[in-house]
């Protein structure tokens, strides 16, 4: 299946773009998607532990299963204010 990852803030630089299409095995989880990203992008790999993932207006857990066509957002460390 294919999912889309939106890379917010500096995570777009780590992953080489603001939007990434990713092939995942069926029943893949958020954690699986991050693992693929980490293999592909070393800059992301070293920061993976500091990144949260959002779907819509909520943060999701790494164990969250993703449907085909899912859209997830990388939330790197924030600097609001």
């Amino acid at each position: 299946m294919t999912i889309t990852i939106e890379c917010y803030g500096a995570s777009a630089r780590w992953c080489g773009g603001a939007k990434i299409a990713l092939e995942l095995a069926a029943d893949g989880t958020v954690d699986d998607a991050l693992s693929v990203l980490a293999q592909r992008y070393p800059e992301f790999a070293s920061r993976r532990a500091s990144v949260a993932v959002a779907i819509g207006d909520a943060i999701v857990k790494p164990s969250q299963r993703l449907p085909d066509g899912a859209l997830i957002a990388l939330i790197p460390p924030v600097s609001a204010g």
């Binding site: 917010y8 803030g9 500096a10 630089r13 500091s50 990144v51 949260a52 959002a54 819509g56 207006d57 909520a58 943060i59 957002a73 939330i75 790197p76 460390p77 924030v78 600097s79 609001a80 204010g81």
Partner: protein, 147 residues
């Protein structure tokens, strides 16, 4: 009424909009914090700031901060954050607290701005007068309850 004002706004915030409503009759204290863009950071001359945000989550978190601060401190709270390009001196974030007395109003105001900085998915991209730009190092996103 500030209830209808958007919590996220493109461009600088206007503090006057958040103060237009009359003081509630049972409130003796109004505490406000506003953050403005500075002309220098870590020794570098800054020309402006671009605020990037994850809009749906940022808006949900700002509303959650208002509700949590109101219930923890027994006050009324409104918060707002700017997105997009801001110039030096522009207001990027506002916290307005109305409460019975100053102790809880200050405490809620302080908690709200501290929590905004840790629990709202917004990123500062700082622009320097030499033409460079960079995202500031941030802090891993926390939940509102953790703050």
């Amino acid at each position: 009424m500030t209830d209808t004002l958007p919590r996220l706004r493109d461009g600088a915030l206007n503090l006057a909009e958040w103060l237009a409503a009359p003081a509630p009759a049972d409130c003796g204290a109004l505490a406000i914090f506003a953050g403005t863009v500075r002309n220098a950071h870590e020794g570098r001359a800054v020309s402006g700031m671009t605020y990037h945000g994850h809009r749906p989550l940022a808006e949900a978190r700002l509303r959650e901060i208002e509700a949590t601060a109101a219930s923890r401190y027994n006050v009324r709270v409104a918060v707002a954050h700017a997105l997009g390009e801001l110039g030096i001196g522009d207001i990027s974030v506002i916290v307005v607290v109305r409460g019975g007395h100053r102790i809880e109003a200050f405490a809620a105001c302080r908690w709200a701005i501290d929590t905004i900085k840790q629990a709202v998915p917004i990123w500062k991209e700082e622009h320097y007068i030499d033409g460079e730009a960079r995202f500031l190092e941030g802090t891993p996103l926390k939940s509102v309850e953790e703050s």
